[in-house]
């Protein structure tokens, strides 16, 4: 099992201020873009319809 050893002189703290609506949107847009990058949409293949004789 691994472990993430933070440097001794670093304490992980986040900024506790509330997010603005713009910031919330920025995060959602980023996640959407990241997901799109991970799962690029493949162009749809046209359904093959056999020629009727």
């Amino acid at each position: 099992m691994g472990l993430i050893r933070e440097p001794l002189d670093v304490d992980f703290v986040v900024d506790p201020r509330p997010l603005t609506e713009d910031e919330k949107k920025m995060i959602s847009d980023f996640i959407k873009a990241d997901k799109a990058k991970r799962n690029p949409k493949r162009p749809r293949k046209k359904a093959h319809t056999p020629n009727k004789a």
Binding site: L3, I4, E6, L8, V13, D15, P16, I31, K32, D34
Partner: protein, 174 residues
Amino acid sequence: MRCNPQHIDIEIDKLTNSIENVITGDRFQTDVSLIDKNDVKSITKNDGWLFNWKSEYKQPDRDVYKLTIKGNPDVIQGLISITEREDHVYLHLIESAPFNLGRNKVYLGVPGNLVAFICRISFHRGFEGYVSFTAKTQLIEHYQKNLGAISAGGQLMVINTDAALELIDKYFKD
């Protein structure tokens, strides 16, 4: 225990991983679980905690988890507060116990352990591991290096699916 029965289940309510004693290098198995009323009494500013965890606990949209050493549930090693957003889990606060801060910290791995746990929650809640938070400017580089977080603009950071999987793999491989 305060929890949202729709999202918290026994499996993710308590997971085992480890933290490391700085001096001896010994590793100790840990548990992560939701805090309760009794915990709130011992995580005040008078006890050396920097943030107001009582207020965090009272907010109905937030879940506050504690990290403890297995078999020693009364000594809290670190705390984390989260909210579920539309497409990810947002990390409001994270804090190591006063004795795990600075150069004289007793245990290493507390924040990483807690963040990996939250990534796992994100998967369990259907968010593909996505976690976001607002970083202190001077810590952005550390978050990128140690957690694999990506800047989403300004101080906003996102842990994506790949980074979340890596964190989970480090802590919950077993």
